[in-house]
């Protein structure tokens, strides 16, 4: 195991991407993630990779698409409004089945919004802002170490599914420092190894023994498009089996169960301890994969003791619909939330939880 180091979140994410084998980075500055393009500009060239500062996020995602279509292992990052601009590319990447790793260091919205921690990009991430029938696996870590581990793993998932994979963090995680262990670096795939490593990629006919390859998403005949989308969804069905990740805390005999991901899940953990001190047993389901959403985790709730499920979010309540699908009418589902970049205190969560429990008795 490597030694513990102290790094700013954004720099640790960039380093994790490089160590995960991402050799190409295309980006555009936007707070609170500008340390990532800065780090990439310093580090990638030294280590045999390539950094390009694109003229916009729109260009960046399309550069990523071209580079990955030509077999490059690509990492891109931005923050909420920049990710919105990238949605055109997300749709194309999914249809053309081109793997890319995307990091959203999210902020509050809508519009320009603010740069403090927010989770109002849940719909954007899990429902897709791009056009058409597609899904993107989305992983939401609760801290820098988990983010580093997921970013490191993401290229393998992207390559296996030939689909973009998103890691969703927030500005606070990007800016803060926590001691962490970096994984061992995987070697970059050299240019001359690409044709063998990704036989579907664009490497020129000569490199593939005279067979040409077209990376495309245009299918004008409805029957062909339907068949193509159905094939994509066979892949997504497999992802729904393989990629579901979550953590549970204290579900057994719980009075109340929280569902929370990312930054707010850390506050909820603190609230659970405070509630325990007052004799209230609270548990938590922490989704790590937001798509596929861990609906199965809701079967672990003790429906004989639990009186309510609370979706705790840093948005106006975007995940709560998924929580209700998981609960499936078995219990009342309530929302505790703040938005705009405000993170509730653990005490605030405790007080609101007690009020909710009063109401459902």
């Amino acid at each position: 195991m490597t030694e513990k180091v102290l790094m700013k979140g954004n720099e640790a994410f960039a380093e994790a991407a490089i160590r995960g084998g991402c050799r190409f980075y295309f980006g555009y500055p936007i707070t609170p993630q500008s340390e990532i393009p800065e780090y990439m500009s310093r580090e990638l060239a030294k280590r045999g990779g390539t950094f390009v500062q694109a003229e916009s996020e729109l260009a960046a995602v399309n550069m990523a698409y071209g580079c990955a279509a030509a077999g490059g292992n690509v990492f891109i990052s931005s923050s909420s409004p920049g990710i919105a601009l990238m949605q055109e590319g997300m749709s194309f990447l999914c249809s053309a089945e081109v793997p890319v790793v995307v990091l959203n260091v999210s902020r509050g919205g809508p519009g320009v919004g603010g740069i403090q921690p927010g989770q109002a990009d849940y719909f954007q991430a899990t429902r897709g802002g791009g056009n058409g029938d597609y899904h993107i696996p989305v992983f939401a870590p609760l801290g820098i170490q988990e983010a580093v581990d997921l970013i490191y793993e993401a290229p393998q998932i992207a390559d296996r599914y030939r689909n973009p994979v998103m890691v969703l963090v927030d500005g606070m995680m990007g800016q803060m420092m926590e001691p962490l262990r970096l994984p061992e670096a995987r070697p970059f795939v050299a240019t001359e190894e690409i044709a063998a490593y990704k036989p579907w990629s664009l490497t020129g006919k000569a490199a593939k023994g005279g067979k040409r390859r077209v990376v495309k998403s245009l299918l004008l005949k409805p029957e062909q498009l339907e068949e193509h989308v159905e094939q994509l969804f066979e892949k997504y069905a497999l992802a729904e089996k393989e990629l579901v990740r979550f953590e549970t805390i204290g579900l057994e005999k719980a009075d109340v169960v929280f569902v929370a991901f990312g930054t707010i899940s850390r506050l909820v953990a603190e609230s659970i301890e405070l509630l325990a001190a007052e004799g209230i047993r609270a548990g938590m389901i922490r989704p790590i994969s937001l798509w596929p959403f861990p609906y199965a985790a809701f079967e672990q709730i003790d429906y004989t003791t639990t009186k309510a499920v609370i979706s705790a979010e840093l948005s106006m309540g975007q995940m709560i619909g998924d929580v209700k699908m998981g609960v499936n009418g078995r219990l009342p589902v309530q929302l505790i939330h703040r938005t705009g970049g405000i993170v509730p205190t653990s005490l605030e969560i405790v007080e609101k939880t007690k009020a909710i429990l009063q109401g459902v008795k």
Partner: protein, 177 residues
């Protein structure tokens, strides 16, 4: 050991973020859990700087704090703005060289540290943050002084900056109650 929540505030150029990082490295040196959260965004262009450091012997639930066990105010605006953040009975470290006013609250413990003056007497006003760090460590006991000494020597004042180490070690031990 309990969880210590520390908040450090001042103006840009006072080495505020460095103080936070030194504390975080110090915690790592003692195999403790730690988190460091600097202020970010437009605020950092406005000349103010602050950061939150949490040190604990168990995983840290949240790097954000709403109640500080200790608050370091390196200039007057920081004291005025962040005084309410301190918990009842918490420790307020005042850089009295730059802050002549007294805090309003009476339910806190105030520790006067003439950080700039002490640093100037040692020959470098820039070491005011390290003087303050010495006071913070001594009065809170959050970390052992030798851990900070280790960080100063191995993470901060090494390589090209090694010549600054003796003065800063002196600064670290300079403040007396």
């Amino acid at each position: 050991m309990a969880t210590h929540k520390l908040f450090i505030a001042g103006s840009g150029g006072q080495g505020i973020l460095l103080m936070g990082q030194i504390l975080t490295y110090g915690a790592m040196h003692e195999d403790l859990e730690a988190s460091f959260l600097p202020s970010y965004g437009p605020e950092m262009r406005g000349g103010t700087a602050n950061c939150t450091v949490v040190v604990s012997d168990k995983p840290i639930s949240c790097p954000l704090i709403y109640e500080a066990d200790a608050l370091v105010a390196m200039n007057l605006p920081s004291m005025l703005r962040f005084e309410p953040l301190l918990k009842r009975g918490g420790k307020l470290f005042l850089n009295t060289t730059l802050i002549e006013e007294r805090p309003k609250r009476s339910d806190i413990e105030v520790i006067d540290v003439a950080a700039n003056q002490i640093a100037m007497e040692l020959g470098n006003a820039k070491a005011a943050n390290i003087v303050m760090l010495g006071a913070l460590i001594r009065e809170t006991g959050v970390l052992q002084p030798k851990s900070i000494e280790y960080v100063l020597e191995n993470k901060v004042f090494h390589g090209k900056k090694a010549s600054l180490l003796p003065l800063n070690l002196q600064a670290f031990h300079a403040w007396q109650r």
